[in-house]
Symmetry: C2
Subunit: 343 residues, 2 copies
Amino acid sequence: MATIKDIANRLGISISTVSKGLNGASDISEDLRQLVLDTAVEMGYSTKRSKKEEFRKLCLFVENMDYETLDSFGYDLVLGFKQNAFKHKWDVTVVTITPEFQKKERYDTYLLKHGYCGAFILGLALQDPWMEQLKTTTMPTVLLDNFINGNPNVGYLGTDSYEGIHMAVEHLVNLGHKKIAFMNGSLYSLVADQRQEAFEDAIKEYNVDCNENMMARGYFVADSAHYHVPTFLKEGATAIVCGSDLLAQGVIESCVANGYKVPEDVSVVGFDNIPISATTEPPLTTIAQPRNELGKYAYFILNSLILHIAISRSLLRPSLVERESTARVKIVEDIKKDVKKRK
Amino acid sequence: MATIKDIANRLGISISTVSKGLNGASDISEDLRQLVLDTAVEMGYSTKRSKKEEFRKLCLFVENMDYETLDSFGYDLVLGFKQNAFKHKWDVTVVTITPEFQKKERYDTYLLKHGYCGAFILGLALQDPWMEQLKTTTMPTVLLDNFINGNPNVGYLGTDSYEGIHMAVEHLVNLGHKKIAFMNGSLYSLVADQRQEAFEDAIKEYNVDCNENMMARGYFVADSAHYHVPTFLKEGATAIVCGSDLLAQGVIESCVANGYKVPEDVSVVGFDNIPISATTEPPLTTIAQPRNELGKYAYFILNSLILHIAISRSLLRPSLVERESTARVKIVEDIKKDVKKRK
């Protein structure tokens, strides 16, 4: 476990400054205090809490998502939540769950018997046993990317898909693309539904040339791209927006397999900005989800729900990360010529 | 100005307990502390702040909205915001604005020259001069019921219209109503657009009988009801959902003027739960906006924006307040007979 000295060394500040930051002294700046706390949480530092405070416990459930390594999707989400909770004197326990676990343990009972005041849930699938129980739970709960209708104890948190997809399309339109295809994710996902609606709106708004053959829904895995990309290319798409970075990876591979170069012949945009998107070949232009901020904000929502403020839904803004998978549009005849040459 | 003694008297607790609540002592419960703080703010108590803290100032702009009396729409919104800000050691100044004021003062400049770190804005109209400036402002800003696309410094806060309208329709369907009309608000309002979409969805979901003649958009004033209600009644509507309580008041008056009794012949549901809706004749069944919670939550969003968490939109859950303007559906032939008798 990290000590105060470890934190001081990492930040290059004195032990007494770290101590001030951890204890909320008023003679250091709020920014420095936040930095000390954030670093303490990231390094696994934990203080002994007073007896009274031991009862302030929150649970963070994780399913279908890696979070333990720096390059995993969940790392920053879990970290952000812990950072804010720690600052406000809550303990957080991370519990990995499976559908089997959910069948064995009732949601409310599990939280109550372990003394949790509320929970943040990552990666729950629509068909999971707890989704049904969440409709009537009395425990304050924040759900990432899932919405529960009509229960004031459950808040939905996500990234604004509408704004993200609009950013992607606008970026491509600004590069001169007029025929843009959409490789979207699973049919059974709230987020994929939102991204679909957003894309259909965006192509109208930006007057993009797109027909039904140029929009497909696979799963959040790379493989499904191979079924659809050849059709997109035959229809003359010069750019492909993807519902996730994993799909975008598959789309790039499929373009290459069909003799098309990315971004010279076809531009590709991902969604999520998962850590590996910086190291694909070529590095992926993508719509970033603010993962650390989502984690931090989840704490604010959960705290509000505990205070009986019934948050229905909260969305954070995404941002465009420009890397090398998008470029200015090429003349269609030139693309065809070059692809032919390569075959 | 209220003193500590005034607060103690109002709450029936000792002066020393009030003092503990105001100073964050750890030997009183969190609930009591919150109550002391909330009451202190409501009674206008203010402590001398330290020099350092004097710089933590937030501004609350109000346009087109009363907030100074208990029965005004804005009272609880302003109070909730102040209560939470006060608890977290911010000063709040309420500034009433007009379009003329906005033409004279640039938004960012006004905040900077007065030393505000951010603002919460109530009641801004779409065509107001500041709406344009908010697209590019660098000041953390929370907007009630207005959305700014693409600026990470501005967050939108509102009540979930979708859930509210669904509650209204479901309530009427449970009372046996099958023909439901919709009297909605202004064409130039984001909230009215959302309520329109929600109603069109809800009538599909609940298989309600409704045609184009049974949906109208007026303004958020009672008068426009008189143009549309006679048509609704001619089409055989037994219930009318309204986009606001003010519209609902007009709808009730118009029903009565046409010989229909509310709720005996026609049920009417409002939206907002403004204070007067409890005292209309009959008292109005309506969808309540959680105004105090909206104010409190606005503080959390503003604080997050100040910490560079780009909140795009946050919606709180509404709730159904059942009063006397809705009742079980009557057989249509009986309604017609009774209305004829009365004329």
